[in-house]
């Protein structure tokens, strides 16, 4: 099972919405984790869409980044949206980030206050907690925790910590995306290794695996116009390893002509796709049509397509 970890920014959410049909056809294989970062209508429409198609998902109620972090008011807001999901749809989890300043008494009380007693949880473990048994008991242990997602970027102890959790709940989370300080740097990098979790996760004793897609874990609100445009596309190489190709614009001396730079990067992407290395996903189809029309859809759409492509690739590579 694949649990893509997405920050709920506009284009991440649109990516999920547009992939709803694809995910619905692979229901047993997918369960997105959404960390909301803005109280937006796109967030509401996204979870509505997932609910309509009966796709399992997790929404984190105590985000660590963005506009909704660090406040019980925000937790209330998020829970408010979740409580408006159709009453007969229960195929989702409340996500809780467990980090060093985590206060489980407060969180569990809030959840109870809002009438989610008996609800299932996804716990995302960002730190090793000495009081973990206590926390698990609070969340009603085994029964009510659907997924224990262990963030191995922060928890180095790959051997021991996961013994604390019921075997059929454990999910590995890693940031496989090697981000570069500047977009222009991807031109030198060319391509990098991504992961082989899809091959080994079961053998390693995990129920599923999670990653930060082609975005990476560090969060930014986005801002300045980049000097370079980069399109990140994942593919499976001959050894069954997922790698990521970085198609990057060439004329990167200033911030002008983003559209023209997109065309440069897209040209290389399409040439490479024509050589048959890539899974022809919905996103690749859309890149092809942008190539034909010469249209620049904006930087957000490029990110959206990169995410959509990655999710569809993984769905294609795993059994369940």
């Amino acid at each position: 099972m694949y649990l893509p970890y997405l920050r709920g920014k506009q284009y991440e959410l649109i990516a999920l919405r547009e992939l709803c049909d694809t995910m619905a056809a692979n229901r047993e294989k997918i369960s997105p984790i959404i960390e909301p970062v803005k109280d937006s209508s796109t967030f509401k429409s996204c979870i509505d869409c997932l609910a309509q198609q009966n796709i399992n998902f997790t929404v984190i109620i105590n985000p660590s980044v963005g506009d909704l972090k660090d406040s019980h008011e925000h937790t209330k807001t998020i829970i408010g949206h979740l409580s408006r999901l159709p009453a007969n749809f229960n195929n989702w989890q409340l996500g809780v980030l467990i980090d060093s300043n985590f206060n489980f008494l407060q969180i569990s009380q809030q959840v109870l206050d809002l009438g989610f007693e008996g609800k299932k949880f996804t716990l995302i473990h960002n730190v090793i907690r000495r009081d973990i048994e206590n926390i698990l008991t609070r969340f009603n242990s085994g029964d009510h925790v659907e997924f224990n997602v262990i963030n191995y970027t922060h928890i180095n102890d790959r051997r021991r910590y996961h013994r604390k959790f019921a075997r059929d709940t454990i999910v590995s989370l890693d940031d496989f995306f090697l981000s570069q300080p500047r977009n222009a740097d991807y031109r030198q990098v060319g391509e990098s290794e991504f992961s082989e979790e899809h091959v080994f996760y079961r053998e390693d004793g995990f129920r599923g695996f999670s990653d930060f897609l082609t975005i990476g874990e560090p969060y930014s609100d986005g801002g300045f116009l980049p000097y370079a445009v980069a399109i990140h596309i994942t593919y499976e190489d001959n050894e069954g390893v997922i790698r990521v190709k970085h198609f990057t614009s060439i004329s990167n001396e200033d911030a002008s002509d983003v559209g023209g730079k997109f065309a440069e990067a897209l040209e290389e992407l399409i040439n490479w796709c024509d050589e048959g290395h890539v899974l022809e996903t919905k996103a690749v189809e859309e890149f092809r049509s942008l190539h034909t029309s010469g249209h620049f859809p904006g930087l957000g759409v490029i990110k959206k397509l990169s995410i959509m492509h990655h999710i569809e690739l993984i769905l294609n590579l795993i059994e369940t």
Binding site: G259, H295, F296
Partner: protein, 255 residues
């Protein structure tokens, strides 16, 4: 002036400004002097536009003043080194008619030597907070560059120029529009193109110019108000704040 509990925020701000000006003469004091003395003093807001932190080539000009000519001001405070200056001047000369270096007394002597035979002008920002012209700039167009000027424009600005010169905008997809318009712009006479670009930039107007000039907007804040391009409402809020007595400090919500 002493600050007491019935002083206003405006008084506190004024005090802080003059304290900092004596002890830490950062770029802001230079820019604020330029705005007050040039835009609000010598020239008129109706015929003049100022661009702040304006990108020209790979440099960012501190202060650009557009009226009959494009004057570009580069500020060198005592806190700045002169390392990048040569490159900056070269970049600015691709677009501006007149280039001035505004510097403290400490830099002036050295700069006078370096730029003695060049069209670059020199202005000293004195200890008494005045701008004294050491050397007038000469108008120079020998370095004007199509690409540099074109890249300084916003999309709607270059589209208007192309429309005016060619009667139509190229019918190409949006990944090609920039390059196609740049190609067409390069065929225009460079001085004509600089003049047209200059007029487009001049048309960038403030939201509430009369309030920037208003005496309720204090001298110390003119530059920041200009840069932030405050709306009428925002000016109102600012005036209310400045008029508040400091005694209210203790009743402000605690963070």
């Amino acid at each position: 002036m002493k600050i007491s509990s019935n002083s206003k925020y405006a008084d506190l701000l004024e005090n802080l400004y003059y304290y900092l000006q004596r002890t830490y003469r950062s770029e802001y004091f230079y820019k604020n002097a330029l705005i007050n003395k040039l835009l609000l003093g010598t020239y008129s807001l109706n015929t003049t536009t100022v661009l702040n932190e304006f990108k020209i080539g790979t440099s960012i000009a501190d202060f650009v003043l557009l009226n009959g000519e494009a004057r570009i001001y580069e500020i060198k405070t005592d806190l700045d080194s002169l390392d990048k200056l040569e490159k900056q001047i070269l970049d600015y000369s691709q677009f501006g008619n007149k280039i001035y270096i505004v510097a403290s007394h400490n830099h002036i002597e050295k700069l006078s030597e370096i730029y003695a035979d060049s069209p670059v002008g020199l202005i000293e920002f004195t200890q008494r907070d005045t701008l004294s012209t050491v050397k007038e700039a000469d108008s120079y167009s020998g370095n004007f560059d199509h690409t540099c000027i074109f890249k300084a424009l916003r999309k709607h600005e270059y589209l208007e120029i192309i429309q005016e010169c060619y009667g139509a905008i190229p019918d190409v997809p949006n990944t090609l529009i920039f390059r196609e318009c740049l190609r067409l712009a390069k065929q225009l006479d460079i001085c004509q193109f600089q003049k047209m670009a200059f007029e487009k930039l001049k048309a960038r107007k403030l939201r509430s110019p009369q309030l920037l000039l208003d005496s309720r907007t204090p001298y110390e804040l003119k530059h920041i108000c200009y840069t932030m391009d405050l709306s009428t409402d925002e000016y109102d809020n600012l005036y209310k704040f400045l008029n508040k007595e400091l005694a209210h400090v203790s009743s402000l919500p605690q963070r």
